[in-house]
């Protein structure tokens, strides 16, 4: 299968290893990976701020870029949700509505793609460590991603998966929310990180790097012991 | 035009009609999926299941009562019920009980010790006197198995205050009054009252309670602290 990757802007610049891991995993599984270089941003930042006209123009570009893709796999739950759910709202009543529907139909979040589309749970990974999984809200509630990442993690040799108390609680990132309401965002990070620390794990894993940025940002500043954050793909790429 | 009696009736209805000219999207339905069926009363497919037989339902009522801290007692007869209440009166040191006229309430009251004073509410009552009673005895419209509830109305249960003002509410009900669920209770009320409902209908589910202080359960907030349901044949 030709898998076309959608790599969000902040992964591109801040966490490229996540995207590299995804490439490695798909190639290991024998698929051809494509990365249209014209992609930039899904448009979520202006969209969430209410600037839908600006968001639409940015999004329209992505409709073009991914038009010929067979399947599109997103490295992030929140950007995947833009393609899969919010583009339908954004382009409702606009000439690109059909293109938005087409893109939504062929977009998958990374873990859902592996488990539900490819039927793969064991990617042959090895990772020694105690891990807890944080459910990114967009993936969880907009895309229904819950079991797939856990199934993938359970198949990793040497990995011990421990559930935290507040697995489904929002980390507090929320895009611009994190800087517009930093006191609330930080309070939410505190609750999340205390829950992580309470599990005794060494690693917190998520399928959304924006969540990991928030969580790691808080942990690095406030955690009494070292807890590292990793994207699901980074764990699965280890052998 | 605003009216002192009815207010802005026409203006409000006008605004509503105007607003409703644009249809609302059905956010609650999944796009491209047909609307699910069975979405009207009695909703039995979706609510918690009740037992199939009367025996199951009585057992369910008993189970719910335990969770709710309702004192549920199955009595072999009205005499048995009266005996239970006499014991209760002694233990709780009741001085006065209030009740309304009814086949079951009268039958039970007749068997209570004469030292126990009674206040009958049927011809009206003094609020202070009712407030000073130790218990209020009533009949009911129905018992609901699914939720362990008692359905009372202004007509079946001595008015509105009798079942809520005294600190202990005692219900005397017959086995035949047990219905499976709320929907069944509404069906019975509809049949019995044929549109002329009593002005007050209530489902009582356990003794009065509150969780307002630190979410800790306390019984007897304002309504009765104790609820006793006696089931006679």
């Amino acid at each position: 299968m030709r898998v076309t990757l959608f790599i969000p802007c902040f992964i591109d610049s801040l966490y490229p290893k996540v995207a590299m891991s995804i490439v490695q995993i798909f190639e290991r599984l024998g698929h051809e990976v494509d990365y249209p270089e014209g992609q930039t941003c899904c448009g979520q930042p202006p969209f969430n701020s209410g600037y839908w006209d600006e968001a639409r123009e940015v999004a329209a570009r992505q409709l073009e870029v991914f038009r010929d893709a067979e399947v599109v796999v997103s490295a992030s739950g929140s950007c995947g949700a833009m393609f899969k759910k919010f583009y339908l709202e954004l382009f409702h009543g606009h000439p690109q509505e059909a293109a938005a529907k087409a893109l939504a139909a062929k977009t998958y979040e990374f873990s859902e793609f592996l488990v539900d589309k490819l039927g793969v749970r064991d990617v042959g990974a090895r990772f020694d460590g105690k891990v807890t999984f944080h459910d990114g809200c967009h993936g969880l509630r907009e895309l229904g991603t819950k079991e797939a990442p856990r199934e993938l993690l359970r198949a990793v040799k040497g990995l011990e998966l421990i559930e935290m108390g507040e697995a489904e609680s929002c980390c507090g990132f929320g895009g611009m929310f994190a800087v517009k309401f930093p006191q609330i965002s930080t309070a939410m990070a505190e609750v999340k990180c205390n829950s992580i620390i309470d599990t005794g794990v060494e690693y917190v894993v998520s399928n959304d790097s924006s969540c990991l940025m928030q969580i790691q940002g808080y942990l690095s500043r406030h955690s009494p012991r070292v807890v590292k954050s990793l994207h699901l793909a980074e764990v699965l790429a280890q052998q | 035009m605003s009216d002192p009696i009815s207010g802005d009736r026409e203006a409000i209805l006008g605004r509503i009609a105007e607003a409703l000219r644009e249809p609302a999207p059905k956010h609650h339905e999944a796009p491209d999926k047909p609307a699910p069926l069975g979405l009207t009363a009695p909703f039995r497919e979706w609510l918690p299941p009740v037992g199939k037989t009367r025996k199951d339902q009585i057992a369910l009522f008993a189970q719910q009562s335990e969770v709710l801290r309702t004192e549920f007692v199955e009595c072999a007869s009205v005499v048995g019920a009266a005996k239970q209440l006499t014991e209760l009166a002694k233990k709780a040191d009741w001085k006065t009980i209030a009740l309304h006229a009814g086949e079951l309430t009268d039958a039970v009251a007749a068997k209570l010790p004469e030292t126990l004073a009674t206040l009958r509410v049927d011809a009206g009552y003094d609020k202070e006197a009712l407030e000073a009673c130790d218990a209020g005895f009533t009949e009911c419209e129905a018992l609901i198995a699914q939720t362990g509830s008692v359905c009372v109305t202004a007509l079946s249960s001595g008015g509105r205050a009798l079942s809520v003002l005294p600190p202990h509410h005692v219900v005397i009900a017959q086995k035949g009054q047990l219905v499976p669920d709320l929907a069944a209770a509404y069906e019975i009320l509809a049949l019995k009252y044929a549109g002329h409902y009593p002005s007050f209908v209530s489902f009582i589910t356990g003794p009065s309670r509150t969780g307002d202080i630190e979410r800790i359960l306390v019984l007897g907030a304002h309504g009765p602290k104790r609820l006793t349901v006696l089931l006679v044949p």
Partner: protein
């Protein structure tokens, strides 16, 4: 803050204070922890909670989208039994009606059961100014009244208080002895309020449902105070929002359990009572008069917004508050308005002005827990997004406009985007656009969190290197 209006500034100030109040946050977390467990258990007992939600949503859709028809039906049935209906366009009108009624009937003392509509229209203040003695009978409301504070949560009015605080309050205001027992505190309130039920001339309640078919007002409670407030006084006034409509009596067989499950995790609350008129001939007791005040107060404005009309399906269960991480961390008072939490953030702009109250829709990470928890499937978090869009359509904020213009221009040009990725770390790239403003992301972020360093090579460039292509 640039372009801030008063409620928005106040909100930031209050949120600063309440998010720093660790003991208060812990108390709220503890109070809501039990809710989660109880609700899970009760919900799982349903044969199908998802289908129950579908049914509830469908019935509310039917009711709200034929609101005029059902309100007319309610009025017809209710007035046939001797009830009086007053249609109030505004809070002022509602207050005036109730004040006039109290005056004309020589009312002296009023007992109230919980009615968020009365908070909404500041009824207590108006009554007290006119010289009436008004007492709240719901324990949580009673406590908040003694404290001279509004309710913290519209179902659990004093959930933020510890028992020591309540004891101190009672000691001060009622002259009672110190106690650390919730039971004893409740009994103090019980004993104190008894006189008031008996002596009150008027009982004012809210209403959870307006039943069109049978002309009834349904009230859901646990304490029994609403029953007492509507049984003993000679006048009963129910102040109910027009959106509380339910088509048929039998629909309550679904709504009563769902309200209880979502609201408190109970299968049913202790008392669910339906009031279909004043005392009828042949009845032993009950009020001589029963007035229902139907309150519009901008609900028709929300009704006219077809996209967000389902916000009127709300049954005020409070579930969205209970699961909202924003609510849990800032608390109910920080919202600064009657209806808190996610649903409050959706409807307040419609009730009180979009530009003044849009910040509540912005103060959300859009996690969607509210929508998931809602028993009637209101699309809550998407409505927050729509409020943001509507606020911008109405009036753009100049510096935001500038940022998103720049963002758009950059993101439409892959070569520019890639250059930006390559030239500077993302943080430094955003910085010039917002330098000096309160939106400076590095500052707001790095005050409490570490910011990641940009990677030496972007993914874009790694990919190109792999292909042996380099511009």
């Amino acid at each position: 803050m640039i372009n801030a209006s008063e409620p928005q500034e106040q909100f930031q100030i209050d949120a600063d204070r309440t998010t720093a109040d660790e003991p208060r946050r812990a108390a709220v977390r503890q109070a809501l922890g039990n809710y989660k467990t109880a609700r899970s258990k009760t919900e799982n007992a349903f044969a199908s909670w998802p289908h129950a939600r579908d049914a509830a949503a469908t019935i509310k859709y039917e009711g709200i989208n034929h609101l005029d028809r059902y309100l007319r039906e309610f009025e017809e049935k209710f007035t046939a039994r001797g009830g009086k209906v007053f249609w109030a366009s505004s809070g002022a009108q509602a207050r005036e009606y109730i004040l006039r009624l109290a005056r004309e009937r020589a009312v002296k003392s009023i007992v109230k059961s919980k009615a968020m509509t009365s908070e909404e229209i500041h009824l207590n203040d108006a009554l007290e100014k006119d010289g009436y003695h008004v007492i709240e009978s719901d324990l949580g409301e009673f406590i908040q009244q003694l404290k001279h504070e509004p309710p913290y949560h519209f179902v659990f009015p004093c959930m933020h208080l510890k028992r020591e605080e309540i004891s101190a309050l009672f000691e001060r205001e009622l002259g009672t002895a110190k106690t650390d027992s919730p039971e004893e505190l409740t009994m103090i309130a019980r004993r104190f309020l008894r006189r008031h039920y008996i002596n009150a001339d008027m009982g004012i309640s809210g209403g959870n449902f307006i039943v069109a078919e049978t002309g009834m007002i349904s009230i859901t409670e646990n304490e029994g105070n609403a029953r007492l407030a509507t049984a003993l006084p000679k006048i009963h006034v129910a102040l109910v929002g027009i959106e509380k409509i339910i088509p048929r009596l039998a629909d309550l067989a679904l709504f009563l359990p769902m309200l209880a499950t979502a609201g408190t995790g109970q299968q049913l609350t202790c008392y669910n009572s339906m009031y279909g008129g004043p005392r009828q001939p042949g009845e032993i007791d009950g009020p001589e008069e029963f007035h229902v005040v139907l309150l519009d107060n901008h609900r028709t404005r929300l009704l006219a917004d077809a996209e967000q009309r389902d916000a009127l399906h709300c049954i005020r269960c409070g579930a969205c508050l209970n699961v909202c991480p924003i609510f849990k961390n800032i608390g109910g008072h920080a919202y600064g308005t009657t209806y808190q939490g996610p649903i409050g953030s959706v409807i307040t702009p419609h009730f009180r002005g979009l530009q003044d109250w849009k910040h509540l829709s912005g103060a959300s990470s859009l996690c969607g827990a509210c929508t998931e928890a809602c028993p009637v499937k209101i699309d809550i978090h998407h409505h927050l997004l729509q409020n943001r869009r509507n606020a911008v359509s109405e009036k753009k904020v100049w510096w935001e406009r500038f940022i998103w213009f720049g963002f758009r221009e950059l993101m439409k040009r892959p070569w520019a985007y890639q250059m930006a990725m390559r030239l500077a770390p993302v943080g430094q790239f955003f910085h010039p656009l917002v330098l000096g403003t309160a939106l400076d992301p590095v500052n707001s972020w790095t005050k409490t969190r570490d910011f990641p360093a940009a990677a030496p090579q972007s993914f874009h460039d790694w990919w190109r290197d792999r292909k042996g292509v380099r511009k």
